[in-house]
Subunit: 344 residues, 2 copies
Amino acid sequence: MAAPANDLFLKACRGEAVAHTPVWFMRQAGRYMEEYQAIRKSHTLLEICRTPELAVQVTLQPVDKHAVDAAILFSDLLVPLEPLGIHVEFVKGEGPRIDNPIRTEADIDALRPVDPHESLGFTLETIRLLRGELRVPLIGFAGAPFTLASYAIEGGPSKDFARTKALMFDHPKAWHRLAGTLATCVEDYLLAQVEAGAQAVQLFDSWVGALSPSDYRELVAPHTQRILRRLGETGVPRIHFGTNTTGLLQEMKKDADVVGLDWRVDLDTQWDALGPSVAVQGNLDPLALMASREVLSAKADDILRRAAGRRGHIFNLGHGILPQTPVDNVSFLVEHIHRATSSG
Amino acid sequence: MAAPANDLFLKACRGEAVAHTPVWFMRQAGRYMEEYQAIRKSHTLLEICRTPELAVQVTLQPVDKHAVDAAILFSDLLVPLEPLGIHVEFVKGEGPRIDNPIRTEADIDALRPVDPHESLGFTLETIRLLRGELRVPLIGFAGAPFTLASYAIEGGPSKDFARTKALMFDHPKAWHRLAGTLATCVEDYLLAQVEAGAQAVQLFDSWVGALSPSDYRELVAPHTQRILRRLGETGVPRIHFGTNTTGLLQEMKKDADVVGLDWRVDLDTQWDALGPSVAVQGNLDPLALMASREVLSAKADDILRRAAGRRGHIFNLGHGILPQTPVDNVSFLVEHIHRATSSG
């Protein structure tokens, strides 16, 4: 496979000079697009994830619609839980629900080893098919051990992660066994994605901002860093992302090439604190896309002003696109960023 | 009224030397205590807030049970909304619900001026009665304009504050009018609390961590700083608290004597960044109180180690005590902090 026609995203990941700031959006394929909703009328979320032709189609929808500079594999963070032995369903209006959550050490020991080539082959096939279609780089991804564990333990979304923290605090050995099992699964899954053709990978630790820095360093960082280090051997850029992570970013940047920022930090002072050796992705409030174009442009320009003169900024939201987002505002924002940062 | 027998909390607020680190807990009166649940069997939350004898009784429960170094007035953040003209109910299992949320500029203009001596007199009477009973300092409090506005606009708790941000982003003049009305109400309410005998005040901007620092500075800080400046004239310590505020703390410390930290920051590096002129309150994860005593002590000791050698630390959680907290762990933690920091 040839290099993509537009490799600005990969250049920015490596801190190289770019003709304009590359843009992509977390959850750029999804409910805010009518093309996606049309497919969801006849297929469940998990069916789309597990059917390469559908996953390819949905992955391409935002790439065709907006001039984004990268594609991200359409899938769900929780897809690797099923082969581990954890049954995930998506309930309308509620989100994911797990009917056999992890509640005992025996549940942890009963988790099955996952060969992604065998049980997650649909993702790898999706990646192979996409690489034949795309003229922008393809990002693979997986959920990080804490975020996956929090769903597996709580049985669904959680406000305070009480059960997860109970395991972490009172049974740290069992926690490390669970996190280690998940890390092995995620590591193998991401390596297989790279082998299949993913040109960058993003590790989503979406909910890790619920932890104190001390707990993060002791109970989470060893597992995520092990995954990121192993991926480093492949040479593809590694993006590490979470929300509410302002106090964790110094640790999260270790072994990552790109740090994802939510909107709760000033990009310039945060990047100064992280140092110039790491690239930065973010950091627009997803709700800015619901505002007038005047306000949206002003908020985007504030971020660009803070990033000006630095190499390695990838424009993105601070979290995923919300379902009620007007689709035209997304196209508008991509064009705005390209125009505002074009060097010639 | 004489000075309290135990004034360590007030000394720490002022950065003075103390015999041991003072401790109190946000939501130290509440559902985790059976004495509170007994009263709730025959009274609603709002009835307790509006009946001085009941509010006094509930305020004193944790002071009698644990050796905390401060009392906080028992009330609810949303109590001042009713006299403004916003009807608040508490629905079991759901939290607050507002049947006439603010949805138009006309709704903002229709808000009524609040004389706290008239319509919030029950709070002032509670404070007067408490001062006759307490041997520790009494903290008054109120919700800050953003947090109050978010309930008033969303009609209840919210995940992403979409409607609130829509008003802030697209109708900033209307937003400033609303925030200004709320700020006047909160300012008058807190001044009246101090007149009635509150010896410190805490401004709760619990949900302000949903904002970017730019939006915070432009749309929120002018209103909270106005309240804090005015309260500064009374000479009582002013505590400014929110959650998920790591990126906002430099702005939140302005005009505050004490900054409340949640558990998402390392106390020492954060305090270094804020500078020694401000006192710091926090920063234990509320879920640590659900762990074994060994783990709980270790987590508390980590915070004490980071605070060691500094003046002005008030031990507290990073947010309120959770309903499922074992009550004995709270007593244990107070004793542990006192013992671990006693100088003689």
